[in-house]
């Protein structure tokens, strides 16, 4: 694998965030942490959008990842952060591999609706499962990393560092993937599925593979979110959550893996700011932003950068 400029930039970003962590004010650590969790999920949304597909049910994997992490703590008493993320990867990988077989044939609003239905099925199950706290969910706490105990006072920093590492690895992986032959197929599928088949590649298989990757990314984001917030509930798979991921993906654009990460940060900033100063209008701010982006910046915020570079 050859490293290009973006790959180096991703690694550099990760290193800087990691080193800067202890020096940053706690509000900024919190904001970055949530952004990285979200950003990882939106990396997956971006991959789907490169295929021309929008999921209105990615909360499903965000939630599954979080519950996989939570159950590891709750049921198996193994509150290890790495294991939690690992469990999320396995669970979301398996579930998406199965559901992907059904979804890979669907496009446009039918894909959106079926993915929505799947996520709402999980929602319906969770809200009625008393042993998992029903609508209230339950608390999650991670106490070790790879078997090493983490002192309570350094817990937050540890969770943050882990989010940095996983988001960086995810972005690095996705960037390499998109630059690969397999990854290039995504854009080709978006443009012309017929031609892809007549060049000898299976559109179904490619979409399935990309769906699984995007689901696993959402699962990682969910597990990180669970240990970050310390609490999980079925709202994670309720449709407005999935809608929020769509929102961030549109806001970000799909031009680069930096877009979802940056977009997630902008989103978090808008949210914290609006929530603090005007809690009853922050959704309105989001809605208006989304409309403006769709009308004036169809390539998302990322297109501001590329436009500048070209000009």
């Amino acid at each position: 694998m050859k490293l290009d400029r973006t790959s180096f930039a991703i690694l550099a970003m990760g290193a800087i965030l990691l080193i800067a962590g202890p020096a940053l004010p706690s509000w900024m650590v919190s904001m970055l942490n949530v952004s990285l969790c979200y950003g990882t999920v939106v990396l997956g949304m971006m991959l789907l959008m490169r295929n021309g597909i929008v999921s209105f049910g990615h909360g499903l994997y965000f939630c599954l990842g979080a519950y996989a992490a939570g159950l590891l703590d709750q049921m198996l008493k193994m509150p290890d952060m790495l294991l939690m993320v690992g469990a999320a990867v396995v669970v979301t990988g398996v579930v998406s591999a199965i559901l992907g077989l059904l979804l890979a044939k669907y496009r446009d609003i039918f894909f959106a609706m079926l993915s929505l239905a799947f996520s709402m099925i999980l929602y319906g199950l969770l809200v009625k499962t008393a042993s998992l706290g029903s609508t209230d969910g339950f608390n999650v706490a991670a106490k070790t990393v790879a078997g090493f105990a983490v002192a309570p006072e350094s817990q937050r920093l540890m969770v943050y560092s882990l989010a940095v590492v996983f988001a960086t690895v995810s972005a690095f992986f996705l960037h390499s993937y998109l630059a690969s032959h397999q990854g290039r197929l995504a854009g080709a599928i978006k443009d012309n599925e017929l031609r892809v088949e007549y060049m000898g590649a299976s559109v179904m298989r490619a979409v399935h593979r990309n769906y699984v990757i995007s689901a696993v990314l959402a699962g990682i984001g969910g597990a990180l979110m669970a240990v970050n917030i310390g609490h999980i509930d079925p709202e994670m798979t309720y449709w407005p959550q999935s809608g929020e991921f769509v929102f961030v993906a549109i806001l970000s654009g799909t031009g680069s893996v930096f877009a979802p990460l940056g977009g997630a940060l902008v989103f978090e900033a808008i949210r914290s700011f609006a929530y603090e100063y005007s809690p009853n209008t922050w959704q309105m701010v989001l809605g208006i932003t989304m409309l403006l982006v769709m009308i004036f910046l169809p390539g998302g915020l990322w297109s501001l950068f590329t436009r500048k570079r070209e000009g």
Binding site: G187, D191, R195, M199
Partner: protein
Amino acid sequence: MAVILDARGLEKSFGAVTAASNINVAVEQDAVVGLIGSNGAGKTTFLNMVTGYLKPSAGTIHFEGRDITPLAPREITRLGICRSFQIPQLFNTMTVLDNLLVGVGIVAAAGSKWGARNSAYDDPVKAVDTMLDQFGLGSYRNRQAGLLPEGTRKLLDIAMAMVVRPRILLLDEPTSGVSADEKFVLMDMVMAAVKEHKVTVLFVEHDMDVVARYTDRVLAFYEGRIIADGAPATVLDDVEVRRFVIGSHAAPAGAASHA
């Protein structure tokens, strides 16, 4: 010469319209075969059946001795039959270079499974650049495919079929929409590439000058049947062909004649 493509007793109808009736064609390796006939005569139906897009209601198609009748387009492409389209099917938002790199990637990813032609591209970009030069597309390399002029789109469409290393290339009206003075330029480039890679060609064409100049065999279609099959000079002079295919409105040489 060995027979590379063998279609036997193909039948196909759409409702009351017979699109293929007892089609028997055996194509020899390295042949350049022209398919002529008025619109609706069954030429494109024939191409569609060979590439697996349509399934014949009766009959079989063998490629290099293998029955490909039940296969999907993708599988047939992988075996070595590729096609271009009457309306170019490009990846419109991607650059010309990327359009072809997609194909290179598909061949590379398939590796040894790519038919009998295990010929992975060592240096994809260089291979594509060579190809772009061959097709006279070099100056368009980094242009977006969706914004190309029509003649260039046609060329890219054909290059996209060639890039996945076919043994047989099917061209559906390669010169339609191409200006009269560009037609021969386009066909010269395509034929040069085809000869270099030893590809067998079947192409649907309305321009009889193009047919006469490039083919060594012509199949004339009329109402789903093949009414004449032979050397271009013979077929183009055939009385039935002149009446049903070329028609009284046959234009003088050099003019764009088809409707």
